[in-house]
């Protein structure tokens, strides 16, 4: 297939899917090899960017997906008038950060870091689909382990957990000592 039509085909598939598609899913649907699909996606990304089109191609939550260009967000909002999602509270954000970087982690371990109870916050985060139970710790009482969901990656626009902003080394601060 001509490379231009490959690009257009991938664009059509991504438009129709409306969710992150893996390279494999795209390749299967398009009847292309993984390499050709990746080349095609690269071409599509470049075309969209160079022509300053209304859509951008991004890698999120383990797949690729089409989005409206962020500069146009105010206009899209004016058109759709989406209901504002209530923002996460500071407490919820802290808890989410601890889970994101330390997963899988138990409620008790989170509480040890934050110095306060977190059950209500965990409930909120679970309800928002950002975290989920991922198993049980092999410890007395078999406490529930929490981890983040693909929805968490999507709401942060991350391709994978590896793309979380890096943390400063916890151990390194130890040497600083009292002034």
């Amino acid at each position: 297939m001509h490379s231009e039509s490959v690009t257009a085909l991938l664009e059509a598939l991504l438009f129709a899917a409306g969710r992150p598609l893996t390279i494999k899913e795209l390749a299967n649907a398009a009847g292309l090899s993984l390499e050709d699909t990746e080349l095609g996606l690269e071409e599509l990304r470049r075309t969209l960017a160079d022509a300053r089109r209304g859509l951008v191609l991004r890698e999120v939550a383990g797949g690729v997906q089409l989005f409206t260009r962020p500069e146009f967000a105010p206009y899209v909002r004016r058109l759709l008038q989406p209901a504002e999602r209530p923002r996460l509270s500071q407490a919820a954000l802290e808890t989410l950060a601890i889970i994101a970087y330390r997963q899988p982690i138990t409620r008790q371990e989170i509480e040890a870091v934050r110095g306060v109870r977190v059950d209500q916050v965990l409930f909120t985060l679970e309800e928002r689909g950002l975290i989920t139970e991922v198993g049980r710790k092999d410890a007395p009482g078999r406490p529930v382990l929490y981890g983040t969901t693909p929805a968490f990656l999507r709401s942060l626009g991350l391709a994978s957990l590896k793309d979380l902003p890096p943390l400063p080394e916890v151990g390194a601060t130890k040497d600083a000592g009292p002034a």
């Binding site: 991504l14 951008v56 997906q65 923002r87 500071q90 802290e94 110095g115």
Partner: protein, 247 residues
């Protein structure tokens, strides 16, 4: 306090501490913690009336830890681990606060990412309604109506309503079982539980019968034992201190 700060504005004692240390333009270390103890206590005291007790509790626990820390920092001669070893090393609290601060900062970064991400609207995709039912909604077999009819003809007899049955309520009460068991034990000195209820007893009979045995044993009317673990339960009559059954 120049302006009012409410405990509810902080996510926990560590959050308040971070705020105070930042206000005082200090780094996180034992000495700066000792310096902000008084302010910390002032906040907690001011808030003690208004905040709910549950939340205040965590702040109070921290207040206690801070006072210990301050004492340690001011009187370094009264060095660590006297006897109990219960008290924590001031450095432990400092490390804990540093660790907390790392996640507090990370939380701010995550919030920033979320904020930015809100400007990207994903391509909505086509719903199944737009394209007709998707494949996942359809069974992946080809169904021939004739085959379906033939299959039903074969199965139909199985679905004839079953002949009516009469259900006789037979629920002996524990009271009745006690009487019956005592009657039997007047005839024989001892008997096996299984023998008493019959081989094919249903739970509706077994349960009251077993409860009757327990009740009679409790009233010291019978002796109950098993020769081996999970063996037959043997029930023996007991006549005023005189044991009919040996051992």
């Amino acid at each position: 306090m120049g302006y009012e700060i409410r405990l509810e504005n902080f996510t926990g004692p560590f959050d308040l501490l971070c705020h105070l240390i930042k206000e005082a333009k200090l780094d996180i270390c034992a000495v700066s913690l000792a310096q902000v103890v008084d302010q910390y206590l002032a906040y907690v005291e001011a808030a003690a009336g208004q905040a709910d007790l549950d939340a205040a509790g965590d702040f109070l626990v921290m207040a206690a830890r801070l006072l210990v820390l301050k004492a340690r920092v001011l009187l370094p001669s009264s060095q660590p681990a006297s006897e109990g070893g219960e008290e924590e090393d001031p450095e432990q609290l400092v490390d804990h606060l540093r660790e907390y601060k790392i996640f507090r900062d990370a939380a701010a970064k995550l919030a920033g990412l979320m904020e930015k991400e809100a400007d990207y609207f994903p391509a909505p995709g086509l719903s199944s309604a737009d394209v007709g039912a998707t494949k996942a909604d359809l069974p992946d077999v080809n169904i021939d109506p004739a085959a379906l009819a033939a299959a039903w003809a074969k199965m139909a007899p199985l679905f004839r309503p079953p002949p009516p049955v009469t259900i006789i309520p037979d629920r002996p009460t524990v009271q009745e079982e006690i009487k019956r068991l005592m009657r039997r034990l007047r005839q024989v000195p001892a008997l096996e539980f299984r023998q008493y209820v019959g081989r094919r007893a249903r739970p509706t009979r077994l349960v009251p019968a077993f409860l009757a045995v327990l009740e009679l044993w409790h009233r010291e009317k019978v002796r109950v034992w098993q020769a081996v673990r999970f063996g037959e339960i043997i029930i023996a009559r007991r006549e005023d201190g005189q044991c009919t059954a040996s051992r």
